[in-house]
Subunit: 93 residues, 10 copies
Amino acid sequence: MLFHVRMDVAIPHDLDPEVRADLVAREKARALDLQASGVWPELWRIVGEYANVSIFDVESNDALHDLLASLPLFPFMSIQVTPLATHPSKLGA
Amino acid sequence: MLFHVRMDVAIPHDLDPEVRADLVAREKARALDLQASGVWPELWRIVGEYANVSIFDVESNDALHDLLASLPLFPFMSIQVTPLATHPSKLGA
Amino acid sequence: MLFHVRMDVAIPHDLDPEVRADLVAREKARALDLQASGVWPELWRIVGEYANVSIFDVESNDALHDLLASLPLFPFMSIQVTPLATHPSKLGA
Amino acid sequence: MLFHVRMDVAIPHDLDPEVRADLVAREKARALDLQASGVWPELWRIVGEYANVSIFDVESNDALHDLLASLPLFPFMSIQVTPLATHPSKLGA
Amino acid sequence: MLFHVRMDVAIPHDLDPEVRADLVAREKARALDLQASGVWPELWRIVGEYANVSIFDVESNDALHDLLASLPLFPFMSIQVTPLATHPSKLGA
Amino acid sequence: MLFHVRMDVAIPHDLDPEVRADLVAREKARALDLQASGVWPELWRIVGEYANVSIFDVESNDALHDLLASLPLFPFMSIQVTPLATHPSKLGA
Amino acid sequence: MLFHVRMDVAIPHDLDPEVRADLVAREKARALDLQASGVWPELWRIVGEYANVSIFDVESNDALHDLLASLPLFPFMSIQVTPLATHPSKLGA
Amino acid sequence: MLFHVRMDVAIPHDLDPEVRADLVAREKARALDLQASGVWPELWRIVGEYANVSIFDVESNDALHDLLASLPLFPFMSIQVTPLATHPSKLGA
Amino acid sequence: MLFHVRMDVAIPHDLDPEVRADLVAREKARALDLQASGVWPELWRIVGEYANVSIFDVESNDALHDLLASLPLFPFMSIQVTPLATHPSKLGA
Amino acid sequence: MLFHVRMDVAIPHDLDPEVRADLVAREKARALDLQASGVWPELWRIVGEYANVSIFDVESNDALHDLLASLPLFPFMSIQVTPLATHPSKLGA
């Protein structure tokens, strides 16, 4: 089941640089793991913004929330989730 | 080059039903053709709305505008285009 | 799987009164049927507005979109869907 | 009498971690107590956000404000209250 | 129990003038009746707008919705309801 | 001459607690004085928010600004003023 | 007593051209009369928009509403009124 | 003196097709004339929208308003004007 | 050439009080000087807000930006500039 | 390929003045370099704001994001990118 997710990152400028670097490194590792597991099939950078558009493929709403809340940057992100359905004009649908 | 496109459709309720049916049929045919050609790799329905989220893969901004303006429903859609870039945490990037 | 749905109804004032009455009657019948089937467990009127807040309980995003699109008033509603998850402070969760 | 309440939580990142942990623990305890008393029949997490949608069942506007203001996280929440009425298409209404 | 209500009126310009005049006359009569009954203690015009700010004093959310929906101009108004509580700094509170 | 005033209070969480307590106490004293003088006839809490809706009755715009700017919490409030006029459907108008 | 007023005009495109021309002519005549009387000291066009920014100098809120409602284009304008006070840094204040 | 202008076009769908075609043709002719005269140095289509971003180079605010109001599509456009100044980091500034 | 300018002031609450007092004093002196020079003919306080509406009369966009950027409070203000033109219904225009 | 870019700068007021001065100096140097290279053909100040409107001419979305992210002030800017296409009424198009 697919969900469209937009994440906007806003790390406070006065956060300790080491804490910040650690957060960003752990975020990347976690993102790679989740992509490798198949639940995060698409991930794009929005040009000019510290933000991404992603597609998640999960079993349930609860599973999606748990994944997003597990991201190290979760406390510093504004996240907007939009449920997706099959489009009747989709090729092959 | 990838673009994120959201299209919201608003066909006036007093449009002639035959004109409407013809528009919708031609829109579907055009959408299938464009998908088959490879420029419109993703197309999803937003749950509960007469709207879609799409990914287009085109050579240039001009090419994208020409594709969108060629859609039979173009005069009745509100379209929002967001350029996408490679995300540094994308698996395989 | 639960979804929070807000529906705002805006029937054009110049719609034929009989068409309107028929739409509204069929909407009510359809709403009662869906509630009886268990997929629409909650339905409230927002005070002062021609709008409702609902909770849907469905198997998938596709199932939810099909239900909403089957409502006779669908072409005249603005619908906003929000996926819900279990809250960690929910009694009994 | 039912009210729809949305709460968005924003705890400042530089709040003392012990103060924060204490606040969150007391918030949970208070939420469980209020639910057990019957005034807070529904509580859901919004997927991807540090926010909830709740239904409160209270005797009056004053009672609702007192309940919400008694939440330990009240100073760090943005709360939006919407009064609900019986829907004429509600099954059994 | 007090509620703050803002009503913005937008009668379509192509409505039949007699229908319009009748609506407006019946709206005024209904407003006077409701005020006389005590449920609508305050009613002010917003300067420069076809809109009002009102205070309603009712027993319940259901009672308020029924009152508002009974207004002849209800189909042509956008209404926003805000529940009010006693203010701790209110003189005599 | 009546004005509708909405005040939203946002005291920074890191303000010294004594300074804050003093501000809040002086705000309440000032509010009581102004109400006793007749210029602030109505004051309600908005349910769930650190905000109020008020009615002021003053001689002029200058008088209203001076009153509002004299509130101890003025530097921490967002204030929105709306001029009110007599409504033609007001009972007794 | 001064008020800042912004008026945005939106005459429906399908209004009878003669009715429209008559409205616009009467609006201009009324505007000139009000300016000559001293209550409308400033009137500017906003560049690129069918809108104006005005300053009104009136005795009361009621007087201002009556003036604005007397404008022939009132039913086709969206009007936003902002009360002004003397600025402490105004030269000569 | 440079101004940034965004124009969004919204021609009503029920406008007579010949009137529409005539308007669009005259708009194009006028746009070409104005560009040739040097006052409209830049004109771009916004991808996916019936809208443009333009730069105008004029002597005064009055001159800009007269140019914009002279466009045949002016009654069907929403126009937003932003004054531009020399940027201190502009190469050659 | 006239411009409508709205300035909203937001000085951080934790700014050193002496720095703040100095800024405010220098702002007032600068405002008086500019008014005396004729480029800032109108300056009003918005009732209830730490904000003003002003009219500037300058030779060019560059001149206006330089004036605004020279204000000591410029780094703490949100400024919105709207170009004004002669109104065709202005008395004497 | 052209893109319209708006950048709003918001440097925290409590940033170390030397760090700030260094950032601003490096931003200017980088901006001059990029303009000299041809990828940033237009750069204007928005009157009254710490913001600019720019036109970028790049090979791809990825190239644009890399350029923007290389700006020393990138962490303190809010950036909005709009893809541009050739306008059919452009002189010479």
